[in-house]
Symmetry: C2
Subunit: 109 residues, 2 copies
């Protein structure tokens, strides 16, 4: 994983924080990779950063040009399938926040 | 780590994405814990979520009521010491983004 190279603000961030269900969570890794690949092909996608710790707690932040781009990705049919599986099986808990990035600052990039 | 219980939007998120320096990064863990404890005592602090992966890549998102609260925390003298150590020693790279949370959605909380 690397730090996303985003353009000058303003742009949008979707902060997705989750706790995995107990169990083997079969298919989750493959679906996650597929979703990152698919997201990166969508209009308005700017980048993604993602980490999951050993305790099953994870944070994924994706960056987008506009709220419309976020809405279109939310409604993408294959993403809908993944969301349904996530709610039904993979995630014990999650929080999703849509936020407008107003300023940013980088070191070493 | 748990998903932060934040109030109804709007509120602010500080998304801090970082890659650790190679080496033992002595003192980093203790300072990180101290900073979370200190941040949580500041006016306007709403919560924090943090994960670091085995590859040294980490995401910490802290939540705040206002930009003024974020600015005050940025300028806190002990936090300044930590920031200086971070830039000089612990972080190889980082990205810091300040964003206004406009909507959110939770499951299982």
């Amino acid at each position: 994983m690397t730090i996303a190279r985003t353009p000058e603000p303003p742009y949008y961030a979707v902060i997705f924080t989750s706790r995995m269900s107990d169990g083997d969570n079969m298919g989750y890794g493959a679906m996650g990779n597929k979703m990152v690949e698919l997201a990166s092909q969508q209009t308005g996608f700017l980048g993604v950063e993602s980490v999951r710790g050993g305790d099953g707690f994870g944070i994924t932040v994706s960056y987008w040009t506009t709220l419309e781009a976020i809405e279109a990705w939310k409604n993408h049919s294959l993403h809908q399938v993944a969301q349904d599986k996530g709610k039904a099986e993979w995630y014990q808990q999650f929080g999703l926040r849509v936020a407008k990035v107003e300023r940013d600052n980088f070191m070493g990039m």
